[in-house]
């Protein structure tokens, strides 16, 4: 297994906690935080940014007021209502609302006076960082920006460049099943789904597993805080069994998870943490699976 993505469907089930533990337990790994619009993995790792780059993941239309003859054809063809009238000093102009513009270029094509062009828009930043636990690729999407899927792809590309042939890449995914999750899991050799024992968690798990199986990626499962509702934990596990999903562990609710984070210490350094104990066992199983695959 060369690339493992940790996802969940529902947010806040413990993806980042598990990934950060794996980072401390593994010898040869590269981490990639693909939750680019709410990244947290850097908070759980002792990381230092080595390289920072701007990322242009979208284009926006720009109207040159000098060339524009106010014919309004651009407004007609724009399907995103991104072009509208601007009144500046009692004069009417046509302007683009950047948050609405998808950068499709229909307006550029239709403009009879070549007054519109598409400009690259910076939509975020990527970071290559060093941590004592290994190399780490992450990013931050600009507030409200488009193209989170593209930025995820860039984070994975950067992680691949950092990664040696035999190393494993562990991807911390984002919640949901849309473009950023699809960009996080495509081409992965395995997906680890972290689920919490709630009706919502089960509903969201079903969708995210369907997504992984849609892309023919093998799925593993762990139930986090399983003891908050053991009845639903059983439902989740029987759903997993029915769908040929290997269960890697049941992580108990453990107040040390939050405490470790608040103290800036890795959870796995707490010998008395019941959650860490299970996560260590999950990591052992993943290593075994990787060895089996090599054979």
């Amino acid at each position: 297994m060369k690339q493992l993505a940790v996802i969940s469907g529902k947010g806040g089930t413990g993806k980042t906690t598990v990934v950060s533990c794996f980072a401390y337990l593994a010898d040869n790994t590269v981490m990639a935080d693909c939750d680019v619009d709410a990244p947290n993995l850097h908070l759980a790792l002792d990381s230092e940014v080595k390289q920072e780059k701007e990322f242009s993941g979208a284009k926006v239309a720009f109207v040159d007021k000098e060339k524009c003859n106010l014919c309004g054809k651009c407004k007609e063809v724009c399907r995103f209502q991104a072009i509208g009238d601007l009144i500046i000093n009692n004069l009417r102009y046509l302007g683009v609302t950047n948050l609405k513009c998808e950068g499709c270029g229909a307006c550029v094509y239709i403009c009879p006076t070549q007054a519109i062009e598409l400009m690259e828009e910076v939509t975020g930043k990527t970071f290559n960082s060093h941590t004592p636990q290994g190399k780490f690729s992450h990013a931050l999407l600009d507030i409200g920006a488009e193209g989170s899927g593209k930025l995820v792809t860039e984070v994975r590309k950067n992680a691949l460049a950092l990664k040696d042939e035999e190393e494993l890449m562990i991807i911390d995914g984002s919640p949901g099943i849309g473009c950023s999750v699809i960009a996080s899991i495509t081409g992965c050799n395995g997906v680890l789904a972290i689920c919490e024992p709630t009706q919502s968690g089960l509903h969201d798990l079903e969708r995210v597993i369907e997504l992984a199986q849609h892309f023919s990626i093998p799925v593993f499962l762990a139930v986090n805080k399983y003891d908050l509702n053991e009845e639903i934990t059983k439902q989740i596990e029987s759903f997993a069994v029915k769908n040929d999903i290997r269960i890697l562990g049941r992580i108990p609710f453990d107040p040390l998870v939050v405490k470790a984070l608040q103290n800036g210490k890795p959870l796995v350094s707490y010998d008395d943490s019941p959650a860490a104990m299970i996560i260590k066992d999950m990591w052992r199983k993943i290593k075994m699976i990787m060895k089996e695959e090599e054979k």
Partner: protein, 284 residues
């Protein structure tokens, strides 16, 4: 009045706050805008009344008319068209339905067909109107579903928008046009980090907002201190409790569990109403 509930970080309690507020308010519409993973209906259990497909427009090429000139391929900013062996191939999941390929085709060989990517569903629970959007598994784009869902908004009513996590375009599209935002967070370093992102977003969009601290624990003042420093109103705190976690896990409404929680959400709704000076926010 439109109130959006968002958080940045997932799993902080957006749906918990949204559905319980919706349950105690009068004259309400609840819209679940987390169309990738909608959960609100699990709690509200509305009687379903109707369902409509969400369709996007995708190009199709008439091969009789196509000149294989490649203009459409060049024009497409999303790489959803390719010219392979003199034939245009369409990757419909990458298509943004912008229509640029239709415009540039010199032979009028491109037309559009509808493709279903999900649905919008509605139901009622008493006099509460509930709506949710659901993206089909494997489809990448949530925005068209959020947009169609939001056409259900009736400006005369109180509207609760349960938003997706994160801070990207799907959140922007959800909260756009809201009168007020409730930011739900938890007092952990992760919750705090993502709260700051959410605060930047609502400030950028110029929407008034307040914060609810969920899973609150005595002794961790990280959110409290930040909000005081930034002069952000704290609307309330919900204590960390295994009892609440269990009620939530079973898909039940906290507002239906005893007088205390019912009162709590009524007071919260009242406070939000006062903050934005809206008289129409009244509880049933």
């Amino acid at each position: 009045m439109i109130i959006s509930v968002l958080s940045g970080k997932g799993g902080t309690g957006k749906t918990l706050i949204s559905v319980n507020l919706a349950a105690v308010l009068d004259n309400v519409q609840y819209l679940d805008c987390d169309v990738e993973e909608p959960n609100g209906f699990i709690f509200l259990k509305p009687q379903l009344r109707g369902k409509e497909a969400v369709k996007v427009k995708n190009p199709i090429v008439d091969i009789e008319k196509c000149l294989a000139c490649g203009q459409c391929v060049k024009a497409c900013q999303f790489n959803s068209l390719a010219l392979v062996k003199e034939k245009v191939i369409i990757f419909s999941k990458l298509c943004h339905s912008c229509g640029a390929c239709l415009l540039v085709c010199p032979a009028q060989a491109i037309t559009e067909i509808d493709r279903e990517i999900g649905f919008v569903e509605e139901g009622t629970m008493g006099d509460l109107a509930c709506y949710q959007g659901k993206l089909q598994v494997g489809e990448p784009m949530a925005i068209p579903i959020i947009k169609q869902l939001k056409t259900k908004i009736n400006g005369q009513r109180n509207v609760i928008l349960d938003c997706p996590p994160g801070s990207s375009c799907s959140v922007v599209n959800s909260i756009e046009g809201s009168d007020y935002c409730i930011l739900v967070t938890e007092p952990t370093p992760f919750g705090f980090h993502d709260l700051q992102i959410a605060v930047s977003l609502v400030r950028k969009m110029g929407i008034p907002f307040g914060v609810i601290i969920n899973k609150n624990q005595l002794g961790s003042n990280i959110i409290l201190n930040y909000c005081q420093k930034e002069e952000i109103q704290i609307l309330g705190a919900i204590p960390f409790s295994k009892e609440i976690a269990r009620i939530y896990s079973e898909g039940k409404l906290l507002a239906n569990h005893g007088h205390y929680w019912n009162r709590y959400f009524r007071d919260l709704a009242h406070q939000v109403g006062e903050v934005i000076g809206h008289e129409t926010v009244s509880c049933n």
